[in-house]
């Protein structure tokens, strides 16, 4: 728990909490606007275009200009829509996007066994808005609530394209949530806690989970996160050529802007979650002779934002590089590849961790577990093959061109 709130709560504690909330809030909003500009500019560069360059230096105020324009647009609500749910959906999309950021540690000194506690106006506190004991479960819960925003927006529009988009979105998001959860579980094996602060503290001294978990859970997490965010190459939810705008086709004016904002905010917070889980959050080499504010604030902030920027770049890079998946390919990748892979890897890592705790040779234990997983996997695979072959033979070619197909 945040040491600030462990004692009595007086006026000064409340004021510090409010300060943290306002700073985090403002920082997130500015960060999202910068992210929109960053994405447009970077995609433009990759496609040999110039990109936004009119509003402000290098077009950096373009997002603000677009947002202000949307305020002055007429707000249309289709006659067949469900009025209450139609108005509720933007809240459900945007508020969870904000809330995920509350549990992300953005600064604090984690070197030499320190737990990231900083002193702010004479009070000890953590550089994250809140540190609930189940921090990472909170992140997963919020990403589940975000599904409701998308689903209800599409359903309540009373229109066909949004309905299809939202059904696609919910199936896609729940499918990849399974793989996401399993790769988070491997991180928990090594962290031994669900608190985000504890997860970062457990990775101090370069023991980052990206190599502690032998890379695979990280790759699974990044792929699953891209699908959770409905970003290219997994943006079937709003595949323009098929569904016009997907779930937000019927939204206009500022309500559309809220969905747009939520989408980019999710990208920023999901990158922050990846940094926290796999890249040690704000931890990094900190010289012990430096003044306190450099150790506690400046260097960790620089490390955190440098790592964050890498993932923001990677997400934009994905978008500029990869063509969109087909829906069956998307489902196959999730259920037939990522989930079995994450499960198998989880078992191998469990064996290694247990061997290390018991004082056995972790390499041997890992090899034995890997062998068992591969043999078991091949057995199951051959059983599935057999069933699929039988299924294929059972189809009568005459059925294929009749109504029975």
């Amino acid at each position: 728990m945040d040491p600030l709130l462990s004692g009595g709560i007086g006026l000064s504690e409340i004021l510090i909490v409010l300060l943290k909330v306002v700073v985090a809030f403002a920082g997130l909003m500015v960060g999202v606007m910068a992210m929109v500009w960053f994405e447009r500019k970077l995609v433009a560069d990759m496609q040999n275009r110039i990109g936004p360059n009119r509003a402000g230096p290098f077009g950096i105020l373009q997002t603000l200009a677009d947002g202000i324009k949307l305020f002055f647009k007429e707000d249309l609500q289709p006659e067949r829509s469900d009025p209450f749910v139609f108005k509720l959906a933007p809240y459900l999309a945007l508020v969870p996007a904000f809330l995920v950021f509350t549990v992300i540690p953005i600064a604090g000194n984690f070197s030499d066994g320190q737990d990231g506690v900083v002193t702010l106006f004479g009070h000890e506190t953590l550089m994250q808005v809140a540190d609930p004991q189940m921090g990472i479960l909170f992140v997963l819960a919020m990403s589940s609530v975000a599904v409701y925003g998308v689903m209800l927006a599409g359903w309540s529009s009373g229109s066909k394209y949004p309905l299809l988009g939202s059904v696609r979105a919910s199936a896609q998001m729940v499918s990849y949530e399974a793989a996401l959860g399993l790769s988070v579980a491997t991180v928990l094996l090594f962290a031994g806690t669900l608190s985000t602060n504890g997860i970062v503290a457990s990775q101090a001294g370069w023991r980052w989970n990206i190599w502690m978990t032998l890379l695979v859970p990280f790759v699974v997490f990044v792929i699953a996160a891209t699908a959770e965010l409905n970003r290219p190459p997994f943006d079937l939810v709003e595949a323009e050529q098929e569904l016009v705008g997907g779930f937000h086709t019927e939204y206009s004016s500022i309500r559309f802007a809220l969905f747009f904002l939520a989408e980019f905010m999710n990208t920023v917070t999901m990158s922050a979650v990846i940094v926290t889980l796999f890249l040690g959050g704000p931890s990094g080499p900190i010289p012990s002779g430096a003044p306190g504010w450099v150790q506690d604030f400046l260097l960790p902030l620089i490390y955190f934002f440098a790592k964050l920027l890498v993932f923001l770049f990677v997400f934009v890079w994905f978008r500029a590089t990869l063509p969109r998946f087909r829906y069956d390919q998307l489902m196959d990748l999730g259920w037939k590849f990522l989930i079995p892979l994450a499960l198998g890897w989880f078992l191998i890592l469990t064996a290694i961790k247990v061997a290390r705790d018991q004082g056995w040779n972790p390499v041997v234990a890992g090899a034995v577990a890997a062998l068992a997983v591969v043999v078991g996997g091949l057995l199951l695979r051959s059983s599935i093959r057999a069933a699929e072959d039988k299924d294929f033979d059972a189809v009568d070619p005459a059925d294929l061109d009749g109504a029975g197909a």
Partner: protein, 125 residues
């Protein structure tokens, strides 16, 4: 502890403040927009968008049952995550016994996935 707030509530106090601020912000944006936006009503503007053609039939059409099968399968893995998460954080306590137990649990769930796979449920037609 003499403090009136329980540990749970204090954990989420800041989250609650943050959430209410987010709600207020969304409400505020909608309010500002309501103040400044034009309102020129025409019946045609409120027809559902179908690429410029007049919409046909009922808007809440039926969708494929396949989507719901994936939702059911998801429940299986979500329940699995509920059991794995607390277990993973306490692995040192359970040791080798815990490894065997969890292997059995995961294999049983995996058999569920394999069953669905064999039945052809995972094939998208």
């Amino acid at each position: 502890m003499s403090n009136p707030l329980s540990a749970f509530l204090r954990d989420y106090l800041t989250v609650g403040i943050f959430a209410s601020l987010a709600f207020v912000l969304v409400g505020l944006l909608l309010f500002i927009s309501w103040l400044v936006r034009p309102d020129r009503r025409q019946a045609q503007k409120y027809i559902a968008y179908e690429s410029g053609v007049d919409p046909v039939g009922d808007m809440w059409s039926q969708s494929q049952v396949r989507y719901y099968i994936f939702a059911l399968l998801f429940v299986m893995f979500d329940v699995e995550a509920v059991f794995i998460f607390p277990w993973a954080t306490q692995l040192e306590v359970f040791g080798f016994f815990g490894l065997i137990e969890m292997t059995i649990f995961i294999v049983i769930l995996l058999l569920g996935l394999v069953y669905a796979w064999r039945k052809g449920v995972l094939r998208w037609v």
